[in-house]
């Protein structure tokens, strides 16, 4: 495969994925509004959502890019994949904990709605991120392999598609987590 793509090849591969991403993000926005707004603790929950959505760029994006690069340069194997996954989960737990911690601080100083315990505020991002990654990691890995085997550049195709999938499942897993934890 010639990796020195022409500009039209880039457009041809990235644009359709972007359309999926745009539709997915608009759907995620609508679902977020319908599912989260009715909660009594909405003001606190909405503090966590933008930070959780940014995980896509901070954790999931680099995981996908590393996998794409490993496949392209021929260094993709069981060991590299396992270490990549383990590092991604380690980073995500650390970030989820920090998001929970900041959520407590923002609630204490700005929102001042005390209907959720601090423990729950820490647990929401951790469980939510772990659930999302458990869907996102296998999906993006398989997608990377399929796209590469079909002769397309995974760099162009996988990330935009996964943005839509990640954003949608972040919102859904966030909703499932607050239901599981009995958040009012």
């Amino acid at each position: 495969m010639d990796w020195q793509d022409t500009k039209w090849k880039i457009v041809k591969e990235v644009f359709p994925s972007e359309i999926i991403s745009i539709i997915g993000d608009i759907l995620a926005g609508i679902i977020l509004t319908i599912l989260i707004v009715p909660f009594e603790s909405f003001l606190i929950l909405i503090l966590l959502v933008p930070a959780l959505l940014s995980i896509r760029g901070n954790i999931s994006g680099p995981y996908i890019a590393r996998t794409s690069r490993d496949i392209i340069i021929g260094e993709f194997n069981k060991k590299s994949l396992l270490e990549n996954i383990l590092a991604t989960y380690t980073l995500s737990i650390l970030i989820a904990f920090l998001i929970g911690l900041f959520g407590i601080l923002l609630n204490y100083f700005l929102v001042r709605v005390f209907i959720i315990t601090n423990g729950i505020l820490i647990l929401i991002p951790i469980i939510s991120i772990l659930l999302t990654l458990s869907i996102s990691i296998p999906f993006s890995t398989v997608l990377n392999i399929i796209v590469f085997r079909r002769g397309l550049d995974p760099n162009n195709v996988v990330n935009p598609i996964m943005t839509a999938i990640d954003d949608f499942f972040t919102v859904l897993c966030f909703y499932l987590t607050i239901i599981m934890l009995g958040v009012p």
């Binding site: 644009f15 972007e18 745009i22 940014s54 680099p62 392209i72 270490e83 980073l91 954003d167």
Partner: protein, 183 residues
């Protein structure tokens, strides 16, 4: 576990900084919620707008990294055909995606009964914001990728989290700046 250690070592600081930037971005949005409520269509389009420019920067970082590792792009700050193709390819993609985003966004807005105020102004503001961000991010990513690669670091680990969070912060900032400027 060398690969694991390399990822953690190269990512941890930048991921923490990026998360803090994400939280600042949320705070900035809530401070300016009045202007967003005056143009409600922006609230609907903003997540997709963030994700569009974020995706393009991720694709660019990922491509630059692969080009550098494969030797298609020399690790020097200089013009090349590979770089020119990436610039024009992604610029055309972003413009086409923007048209699609405006059409889908306005269609959903009409379907869900969201009030549409001064559409020409909003479209102009969105286009200006995206073009400014694209040019800025392209230069930043190209120069930073070369710099990091020459130091033996993987540009993916640093630049994807950094630019995504930077863009999550800059997109509403520039958008709101232009709305203030034109209204």
């Amino acid at each position: 576990m060398d690969y694991f250690k390399k990822i953690i070592k190269e990512s941890v600081v930048i991921v923490i900084i990026s998360s803090i930037m994400g939280l600042i971005s949320g705070t900035f949005l809530s401070i300016n919620q009045q202007i967003l409520y005056s143009f409600p269509i922006i609230l609907l389009i903003l997540p997709s707008l963030n994700s569009l420019i974020g995706d393009i920067s991720t694709v660019l970082t990922s491509r630059l990294s692969s080009h550098l590792y494969l030797g298609n792009l020399p690790p020097k700050i200089q013009k090349s055909n590979v770089l020119r193709n990436d610039f024009y390819g992604l610029l055309i993609t972003i413009l086409l995606s923007l048209i699609a985003l405006i059409i889908i966004g306005y269609a959903v807005g009409i379907a869900t009964g969201i009030q549409i105020i001064n559409p020409l102004l909003i479209i102009t503001v969105i286009m200006l914001t995206l073009l400014i961000l694209f040019v800025m991010i392209f230069i930043l990513l190209f120069t930073s990728s070369i710099f990091l690669f020459r130091r033996g670091k993987d540009p993916n680990n640093f630049l994807i989290p950094l630019t995504t969070s930077l863009l999550d912060f800059l997109t509403p900032l520039i958008l709101i700046f232009f709305i203030y400027l034109f209204t």
